[in-house]
Symmetry: D2
Subunit: 470 residues, 4 copies
């Protein structure tokens, strides 16, 4: 079940993955399986069969902080005085350097540069103000850690027969709760009876594939305990400077899978609203609206509906493109993008096209695509980007290139249009984006609601530690 769930989260990380399961109350050790690469390569039937127990945590990773090595695979398992502890998290500790220093000065060696080990070692030692005559008080230890590390993480911690699910008090990274629906196969044999259960996940898109349904977001600062007795909120750690949550708006723009639910709305719907908003902000007289497959399609449909222009496909994707070969001449290199896409020439000939993409990062692909469409006969190609220009690095878990590599730091919209050979190019405004993603949402306390737009505005939630300021 965990493995199926990870497959649905594969888009969040393709570098390594792992699962740790527990046999429950008396479990001194866990079953562990981790590896580099894609889930389908790491987990075969034998590996899955060896993962024993009724509860467990899994992780799929793409590297932000530490290097891509097997030692950095999550979940991270440490042996503590109270038995094994397993930890998996999404995000990046903004103040990891000061946390490291603290742990090292306590006389603890760290064997990796990963945040996971740092979190683990932080939780290993009971803080002075926590008394533990009846065994380890994990909620208190977690609360202590949360006060030291304000953001950014969604975190699961497993010990014996309990899993703690934690979201930082900014709510920066997503985390939601699902219910595994009890299922009685009737006359079928025992292994088909599925008991009721609970699950947390970065995104809800995996719930369906394991027979679970979306219940709600984990609240910012909330510590949930999952056990055989169901789930309960054991604490909500609020931040002193409390204003509003700072949920990563880039999840809506690009990162999350379109069928996931955040704040009660489908990501696809938010993207469609971005397209509508874009049509209102930057309208055009053209023959058709289209998108670069497979990104930007929801926004393109939104743009088409709002503008009244027809949607039509103009590019066909080669499903089998692997890595790039040598291309002996510049000429062939310029044709490189044609390896990835084919133009649907008869849809394009003589047409004025609005081409929607979800975002522009380095700006390398859009130029060749425009050339491809013009070669196929398009008379005009206008680019509309369903998000604002990306200008600032992220220190909270999204792997955005350095400032120098971000094209928006080198060229404004007009210059970029020129550079890529577009007839025009426009971005969605920051305000437009925030408005669009709020359009359909529900289930969320509107007072608390708020977004981290640091990569677009440079306003980092809580400010940046000195070591990171640029």
């Amino acid at each position: 079940m965990i493995c199926l769930g990870l497959v649905a989260l594969q888009h969040r990380g393709q570098e390594s993955a792992g699962i740790v399961t527990s046999l429950g109350k008396s479990s001194k050790n866990f079953s562990v399986h981790k590896g580099m690469g894609m889930i389908s390569n790491i987990f075969n039937d034998e590996a899955i069969r060896k993962l024993k127990g009724n509860l467990g945590i899994g992780h799929t990773r793409y590297s932000t902080a530490a290097a891509s090595e097997v030692v950095n695979c999550q979940p991270f398992v440490v042996h503590t005085a109270h038995g094994a502890l397993a930890i998996a998290h999404n995000g990046e500790l903004v103040n990891c350097e000061s946390l490291r220093r603290e742990v090292l000065e306590r006389g603890v060696g760290l064997s990796t540069h990963s945040d996971s080990e740092l979190i683990a070692q932080s939780l290993c030692c009971a803080p002075e103000d926590v008394s533990e005559h009846d065994g380890p008080n994990w909620p208190a230890r977690i609360r202590h850690f949360m006060t030291l590390a304000p953001l950014s993480y969604s975190l699961v911690v497993m010990h014996k027969d309990k899993i703690y699910a934690v979201r930082d008090s900014y709510g920066n990274r997503p985390l939601c709760l699902g219910k595994i629906v009890a299922y009685d196969a009737g006359h079928a044999n025992i292994q088909d009876q599925v008991a009721e259960g609970w699950v947390v996940s970065s995104e809800s898109c995996g719930f369906l594939s394991i027979g679970a349904r979306y219940v709600r977001e984990v609240e910012p600062g909330e510590i949930i305990e999952l056990s055989r007795n169901g789930y309960r909120t054991v604490d909500i750690v609020e931040r002193p400077d409390y204003k509003r949550m700072a949920f990563c708006i880039f999840e809506y723009v690009y990162f999350a899978r379109s069928d996931s639910m955040f704040e009660g709305q489908m990501v696809y719907s938010a993207r469609l609203q971005c397209g509508r908003q874009l049509a209102r902000e930057s309208p055009l007289d053209a023959d058709l609206v289209s998108s670069v497959p497979e990104s930007g399609t929801a926004a393109a449909h939104g743009y088409a509906r709002e503008s009244g222009l027809p949607f039509a496909e103009v590019l066909c994707k080669n499903r089998y493109v692997g890595r790039t070969f040598i291309q002996p001449s510049n000429h062939l290199r310029q044709l490189g993008v044609a390896k990835k896409f084919g133009a649907l020439a008869q849809n394009v000939e003589g047409k004025r096209i609005v081409l929607i993409d979800d975002s522009i990062v380095r700006g390398n692909t859009i130029g060749p695509i425009i050339k491809l469409l013009r070669d196929a006969g398009a008379t005009e190609v206008h680019i509309r980007i369903a998000s604002p220009p990306l200008q600032y690095p992220c220190y909270m878990g999204i792997n955005i290139p350095t400032r120098e590599e971000l094209i928006a730091n080198k060229l404004n919209a007009g210059q970029l249009a020129n550079h890529v050979g577009a007839d025009s190019l426009a971005y969605l405004s920051v305000e437009g984006l925030v408005t669009a993603v709020q359009m359909n949402k529900s289930h969320v306390n509107p007072v608390k609601s708020g977004y981290c737009t640091a990569c677009l505005t440079g306003e980092y939630p809580g400010g940046l530690p000195e070591e990171l300021s640029w």
Copy 2:
């Protein structure tokens, strides 16, 4: 250039691939590189650098006749009394058994079961009525072979500085001719000067990525010679029972990439026409039209335009699904399809949906998809298939399951609707399909035009050899 072209043809075969190049006139030996798997795994920079010469042939294979072994990779190279000969073909020799017998009885051993070796050994020996005082007369040898083997093949034969491109006299498999556009980089260095050249390919979709443009189809029975002097038709082998060509209609329905051109029309356009025709044949009162990504989308747009119903996306594809794991219970197994697709719940809730797919083969996936949509709140799900029921095996190069596995041989449309849980299900008619694919085409002699619909009707072009009749 050949390698880039093969990448564009990767959808035609993912089992093995190879390239053979020639150093030209005095070339006793070829450069050869072949391997199992995908092109991007077989060809790295070093392998490409070792392929010397100014002309060459490449192939990407999926197995029909012979087993999946490296020895069966194409192009097939044989050393003859006149130097090396390389052969690559698409298709399957319908009368291969009698051809084998003939070659073996001539005292030649065959080391594989592949059609390629059979063609090669057939061409190695000059037929009695061919006199060759000035060296091998390849056009005459090829014509002789074509009279013995009526179908099905598109074939390239390379010897020293010449390539012969051949299409069987039924025109069953596709083959088209392209022109490599001369390109002068001006001030750039010499390797950027691209001379004019010629290329043949099963599909035109690769032309763009190598700087070539579509010229025309190779005619049924035509033997084209490509050399440093350009191309010329050296022969057209007509069949005695001449009526019309028998081009594989399944290329339009499913096999070809949508941006390829056949008979002067884009495959995408033909598929869109199929959707329009389907809307005329099987109209519905519904809220939206959609497709199973990424097949059926062109037809869905056609259905939407003809019917006036809106097109909307209802499914989101997981790009990262690999092979299947063990799923301990039936319950999870039933949820399996949810690993591959996510429902866009808010687009589906309370909606009556027309779901278009391009074809139904075994009928295994459509049921779970319907369930997924109903679970997400769809009130009605109607299936429309943009091709007729698939009922007969293909002996001409398309790997269609046995009759027993084809769901259309077990259930009619009504029974199948019931079986997969659809509110209704309808196929496109054979006449409708033939009409649709002819709608936009051009450049083709209308007298000759005709299709092989054997997999739909059981009418095999030229009849079946006894050994294959069922």
Copy 3:
């Protein structure tokens, strides 16, 4: 140079290997390369080029305590408050369980079950009685660790520009010191100038291959500091219950390479003496003395010289035997050993043979070898083992099977002769072994000299911790 040295130590472990190098004084981080398998597979030119610096440590491992996983590869590197620390050791901590408990209760999580991590975490924290105003006092920390962990280890610890070489106070595992001879290539270029340097190694057999020569053993309890300034003894930690050292006698019997020097004598010479002693203890009237290649040859030569019987080869080894295949019948299975050895029939026919082996563990191979010799015509086959019966497990770094698997715990010499089909079988006595290995030695304080014979006698040096007693 380290890599060449490890190749010479490959016989001590083939499971994994690693090298860590340091850039010296200001080195916050090390260069690390580790991997599973043989050294020649782990270290290619690129890997070696990336290892920067003028000092370093290397390790080659076979698993005793922790599982065979990349995470357990040595050297083990931890990041401490004072920068990176690297540790490699040979041996096994007899009281690792109590050491683990202590570390865990200090609030440190352990991420592996390896002794290396345990040693590292022990050294990370300055003991209370060690004051460190000028930075970490490694000798004091190491001394503290040595008082807590009496045996068994030879250990190297690297920090910035220093390496500490440590041998436990029993001298249980070997460790010797060598001097890298300065070498001036005269007119040759600069990289051929080799400066004087120092090296420590478990065995001296690697010295020659790196241009070093054997200097002396590291003394029991000695802490040596190696740096740019040469080497110096910074401490000698004696044990309270001091009697004599307890050097592993199994190194002489089986484990070490025959050209290594221990206690001033060549291992080969000690083995030859064992053969001589064996001839004195268990003489025979026979036609020739031989050995199972390639073990037992030194002892066989010793036996031959002492007895006056000729030495002759009787078996030829197949250098290419890999793993075992299925053998459909018992008959073929019995012939299995013949896959590994061939009998030199004409040397054997009609002969009475004394066959020497160095030790008997499970006793599986000797029976089939005897049968092979009898089939080839030997009239008598007498087995002489150049060591006493192996009866007890080792907890100090040698991977000896469990008591149940040791054949000497099931059958006495007479029964074993019967079981394997020998005409007679005799072991060397424990006293004989101890006498033999002392015969040629020099350079060692005779008062201190002594051996661990636990695997032969069950007398464990220092007694066994409760958790290990059986």
Copy 4:
């Protein structure tokens, strides 16, 4: 059983291997398994289980003629008009170029450059003077081939339920016949009953491991038929210029395994005689005789016995040496051999050593070994080579370097001694070698007996075809 036999022949080729088995009389197809690399990597249990039938042939290959590719693996299987035919051979066709031309001109394409395919295609076509009304007459076809191809080959040909074993009429390559001894396990189950059977093999060393015993050599020119009815000689093809056989003397010197029998004598005994003869030809006053392990040991024992000098080991081999790493300085490179061997210093110090090796090819290793021994204290090192200088290439199946690479073509014995730093160096004479290998032999017609010494004398049996003369 075949697989076990191949393991014993692994020293004859480590590049690729294969097995083909037949289901017998009605067998249209064979079971085939081939692969690159060592037998233990190619054949796992599953592969062996798939090889069905009661007769079969196997091969292990090192490349002489054709390149190292899977397509050149033997046995080679072709499909003929009479069903499948499998061929495996040892040796090299001296006149392969003219044979190729003949086959190609018959209109047959050849897909490899291997001799195996050439032999196969030669046998596929019945010669004009062979009438075959009752099916293929393989003995006649083989005889025809043998008259066209005088040497060099030992060959097995399998068709349906028969295997033909063939040795060229010079008897150049070895081939011997063994009998599988019937074995009745009594009460054991049926699969332990082993029926009587027959086997041919290049060397007899594999017989013991499959429960067979050496019967006799296959005679030069003999064609043996093996079937369910036992074995029978169906033909002996004599050569017109008949004088004596020309058995490869290098098999005795170096190539064969020492426990194999040729001409009724053990290879080990022949090598021991070479050592004795060498002692007679080139005696010395010295302290001990030794060898480079593991070559030259038999000869060293012979030299010791004849001279009365003691034999002692002076070098210890590192069993784990893999490929070579970068060695940054010349100094370390010179120490390279010390990676492979360790000197047994205490055996060497102050000693005058006679070091025996079986042969010298490029002469690269002996110099560093001498240096190693001198560094370890040897006062004199004299080299004695138990074979004459190697001066000419072999075109008959032994992969000897080109003339330029053979050190004996550049330096005479005295110069070579100087070059490698020996106190003296002597070879065995050609006459001495021939005398030595004849000393113990039996079972062979003395009239016919004779050797190919081409690599030593340049006298090629039958002369060389023009294309090969140098």
